[in-house]
């Protein structure tokens, strides 16, 4: 029987939530790596038993854990993320040059074809690749070495590479997003890169249409149509129909176009989900009502999805990596909150139920659909 496995990273460990295809009764296991921050946990699309997890603390640094049995047991693999060559500098908050310093792995993106190959997006922003199951890591330094690299500047949350998408139709094409440098694309498997920020408009920049410097929060696409990208920016929900060559705003009737998470329905390429957040200074839902918004038209027209979600006194946030979908016939949608709840919808968002309510603050949610 089909089933799903939800991989949850939190401020104090990782959790694995399992259910059969009805998605009604859940088994919760964890915490794994209790007390450690787990920014991201993600499974291989080609070997669901292979799962990678990013484990870190400010005290003891970064570890990468790997499971080869679907999250039942874990073993540490390589944790040496050494920038290629002489790292050089990026721009610090005060505008002075600042050396690149590795802080943590924000996002792990297993290959679509090889369980031993995985990409890692790190802070300070850089992209690393392992081809031996996480045992060793090499930087794809063409990204950080881009002409604009020395001008990149961190946002308040640090300068993190948080989004990695490999095109399902062209493995040479990779999209990444960096806060707060913007979005970038490679068409040669990560060797060379160029910014893809035309059409983004950020009022916090001296040049509001600058080539880089935009605080992109998250990008998502549908596998059947990988030239169509959806972006939740610091402010604004954006869409590109040409693989990032240009962007247009599709915020439409959202109550706020600030937010972090964005994802696409598994079977409907024009159905998009966001969770509006009040503002950059108030990281909680408008009016204290937790609502997912769904557009069935690729943006601009949005409907609130509130059934089963708290509609008063709710002041949690939903972070950028904390939303995911399954690929069962009736698409499941999942998200986690900084209040420790993980909500699931087994009907494309029409109604929601909490899987768990009291985890540590949720940093990431990923879903594996199991045969």
């Amino acid at each position: 029987m089909s089933g799903v496995r939800v991989l949850v990273g939190t401020r104090k460990g990782a959790f694995v939530l399992r259910a059969d295809g009805t998605r009604k009764n859940w088994d919760v296991s964890g915490p794994f790596f209790g007390g450690w921050e787990v920014f991201h946990v993600k499974g291989s699309p080609v070997d669901p038993n292979r799962i990678y997890a990013s484990q870190s603390t400010s005290w003891f640094g970064q570890l990468i854990q790997r499971s080869d049995d679907g999250g039942l047991s874990w073993n540490p693999v390589g944790n040496q993320f050494i920038y290629d060559g002489v790292p050089g500098t990026h721009q610090w908050y005060d505008g002075t040059p600042h050396p690149w310093e590795f802080a943590r792995v924000w996002h792990l993106e297993p290959s679509l074809s090889d369980p031993d190959t995985v990409l890692a997006g790190v802070e300070d922003a850089a992209l690393f690749r392992s081809v031996d199951g996480g045992m060793s890591w090499s930087e794809l330094s063409g990204l950080r070495g881009h002409d604009t690299g020395s001008a990149w500047q961190p946002g308040a949350g640090g300068m993190c590479l948080h989004t990695i998408i490999v095109s399902p139709k062209d493995p040479c094409r990779i999209f990444v997003a960096i806060s707060s440098a913007g979005a970038f694309r490679s068409d040669d498997e990560g060797t060379t890169w160029r910014p893809i920020n035309h059409g983004l408009h950020s009022e916090g920049l001296p040049d509001e249409d600058a080539e880089v410097g935009h605080c992109v929060h998250r990008i998502a696409l549908h596998p059947s149509n990988p030239d169509v990208l959806y972006m939740q920016k610091h402010w604004d929900v954006m869409r590109s129909d040409n693989a990032g060559e240009s962007w247009s705003e599709v915020s439409g009737n959202l109550p706020s176009d600030f937010g972090f998470a964005i994802d696409v329905h598994a079977h409907e390429p024009e159905t998009v989900y966001v969770v509006p957040i009040t503002s950059d200074s108030e990281h909680f839902p408008p009016e204290g009502k937790l609502r997912v918004y769904r557009s069935r038209s690729g943006g601009n027209e949005w409907e609130p999805l509130a059934r089963g979600l708290p509609q008063e006194h709710c002041y949690v946030d939903v972070l950028r990596d904390a939303m995911a979908v399954d690929t069962l016939d009736d698409c499941g949608v999942y998200f986690g909150t900084t209040g420790g709840q993980v909500y699931a919808s087994a009907n494309s968002g029409d109604s929601w139920d909490p899987i768990v309510r009291d985890l540590p603050a949720v940093l990431s949610v990923e879903v594996q659909t199991l045969a």
């Binding site: 003891f60 640094g61 970064q62 944790n79």
Partner: protein, 98 residues
């Protein structure tokens, strides 16, 4: 024989519950103790010293014989009470409030 006390997070990684006992050649120092510790528990590589600089992580401290050795040169000789196993060498995670 050097007795090493690890903080809880690193005990979890190394899968140990009590003190760790290490044989350290030459004149034991914090650096050589950490070298021996990492050799026995490779999972601890990079957790006490930054893997790039090999310097003590900023939120890690070294204590022994009721003294904070953190700001001493990392290759300074450890007190005799530590090298003779009468006192442990502590790796400490700096305290955080909240």
């Amino acid at each position: 024989m050097i007795r090493v006390v690890l903080p809880a997070h690193l005990k979890m990684l190394a899968k140990v519950s009590g003190e760790v006992e290490l044989e350290v050649a030459g004149t034991p120092s914090p650096a050589s103790v950490i070298d021996a510790l990492e050799a026995r528990f490779p999972v601890l590589l990079g957790t006490i010293r930054d893997p790039s600089t090999r310097q003590r992580r900023k939120f890690v401290r070294f204590f022994a014989c009721e003294k904070d050795l953190s700001l001493e040169p990392i290759d300074v000789a450890l007190p005799e009470d530590v090298t003779r196993g009468r006192e442990p060498f502590f790796v400490i995670g700096a305290m955080a409030g909240g």
